[in-house]
């Protein structure tokens, strides 16, 4: 990797002073699980790293008036071991606990999990965020796209978002709290992600001098039945091929309201609104869960090599729903 300047500020305000005006100037370092490898591969070569691990405003898990606030620098292991999260938000706990490597769980952070760069081997091998050839033509549609998007893939982005936590957080209507010179602003985690239109944009709404400081699960989401189900190629050290996180407001065995969010199938965490809408008013059972899975993949448009992911997504939704019902 290229040489860089390094700073470890003690406060959010100090961190903002140290961040540069463009993404090429500086990157925010926390767990470093994604960033350091991208720098070793020269995909990213920031001039400065600003380590936010020591900043207390961005750390720890605490109850606030709004709900449960998870500091961005909370490690995945801390999140997994948190008793309230395990008891009240099993869908989120499962999403974190399924990340296979203990070493990664000890190092990686909640904020970093949301901000990690896309899963796309073209991007990670130096072909740019939108993976185009020298003439500007996209490489993914005619290339090896077995792990690419089946939703939201009309271009120019074909990669998948690689956050395991995001679908579970979106199902819980969580808010991302972003710190900048103007103070804190809030954006729904669902709106935190966006599909970049050019190579200079990023996959989320953060600007160069903004920091994702914490994630808040609103108190109103307590009592929802949640679950995350994922399918992966192997149990060790890899990302899932598809996941589904669901949150259900139940009245007895009847679903009043449902949120279904798919992971690893689109450039952003993918909200399967059709499935959620269809489930409202239904009784949760094997048949309705399967039909919700059908509804969730209605709009899928697989690429040449990833049709199998449609079936995985369908099954993830069904099994996540049934698990949430049993919880």
């Amino acid at each position: 990797m290229e040489a860089f300047e390094y700073a470890r500020p003690a406060s959010g305000k100090e961190a903002l002073e140290l961040l540069g005006g463009s993404f090429a100037d500086s990157e925010i370092l926390a767990g470093g699980m994604d960033l350091i490898s991208l720098m070793k591969n020269y995909v990213l070569s920031p001039k400065r790293l600003v380590n936010i691990k020591g900043i207390s405003e961005f750390s720890g898990i605490r109850s606030t008036q709004q709900g449960l606030a998870i500091g961005a620098t909370t490690t995945l292991q801390e999140l997994i071991e948190h008793k309230t999260i395990a008891a009240d938000y099993p869908g989120l706990h499962q999403a974190a606990d399924a990340i296979p490597s203990p070493q990664i769980r000890n190092m990686a952070t909640a904020g970093g999990n949301l901000c990690q760069r896309p899963r796309c081997w073209y991007f990670r091998n130096g072909f740019g965020l939108l993976a185009r050839d020298a003439k500007g033509n996209p490489l993914v549609p005619g290339g090896d796209n077995r792990y690419h998007a089946i939703f939201g893939n009309d271009g120019p982005a074909y990669f998948v978002n690689g956050s395991s936590l995001a679908p579970a957080l979106i199902a819980l209507s969580a808010q991302a709290r972003i710190f900048s010179a103007n103070g804190w602003r809030e954006v729904a985690v669902a709106d935190f992600f966006r599909t970049p239109r050019n190579d200079n944009e990023r996959e989320n709404v953060l600007q160069p001098k903004e920091i994702l400081g914490e994630i808040v699960i609103p108190s109103a989401s307590k009592g929802l039945r949640t679950s995350t189900y994922e399918v992966r190629e192997r149990e060790a050290l890899d990302w899932p091929l598809a996941t589904a996180s669901v949150a259900l407001k139940m009245s007895g065995n009847k679903i009043e309201k449902a949120s279904v969010v798919l992971g690893y199938v689109a450039p952003i965490p993918w909200q399967a609104k059709e499935a959620g809408d269809w489930l409202a008013g239904k009784t949760l059972n094997e048949e309705t869960a399967a039909k919700a899975g059908e509804a969730a993949v209605q709009g899928a448009k697989p690429l040449s090599g990833n049709k199998y992911k449609v079936q995985l997504a369908r099954v993830c939704v069904k099994r996540a729903l049934l698990a949430a019902g049993r919880a």
Binding site: A3, S37, P100, S101, M107, Y122, N125, A236
Partner: protein, 230 residues
Amino acid sequence: MSDHRSNGSGNGPGNPGKADNANPENAKPEKGVSRRSFIKGAGVAVSAVTMLREGLLSPTAAAADAKVAGPGAIAMTLKINGQAHKITAEPRLTLLDALRNNLDITGAKKVCDRATCGACTVLMDGKAIYACTLLAIDAQGHDLQTIEGLSAEGALHPIEAAFVDHDAQQCGFCTPGFVMAAKSFLDAHPQPTREQVTKGFGGNFCRCGTYVGVREAVLDAAGRMRGGRA
């Protein structure tokens, strides 16, 4: 995260990236020179290359200036196996390279160098981490333990003894990482189930495929560490 995992990374299109001139272990040893002494020599050349990079981010405020380290070498102190070690290195140096190249503590192995294989596993404050993906500068102020610090010279830790007894290695290159992962795992799970053992080692790869032996060794070591069998 890395080029070695299947999903969205490994076996993909060719890498148009630059040669890694910050990675002396990629260099080819010369005849008559030991590998490690050659690596140390190559390190000097690496520093010279670093000096040439210009256009680093200028500090935005005088107050910030004092808080910025690098890009050149700075003094660092690493507490490894209970002993403080001083090195002078750039912020880009990883803990793994600091251990192996600066301090000759070579138990932790460099294999993927991308937080993917577990061969570099060491303990930081008792927790297993990937030394390849932690900057040395960030490892300061923490208690680091490598396999060299697991037991006294010449003696085997119960985990190491169990690995020997269960043939839990073939080529042995992943073994130090597995043993350190086992130490962290058994400290947290003194009476593990077989299922917990399987899940607990999802961060380490053995390409010889000795997983069965590793699992047996870990279960056996748990008993030995509880005093069931010395």
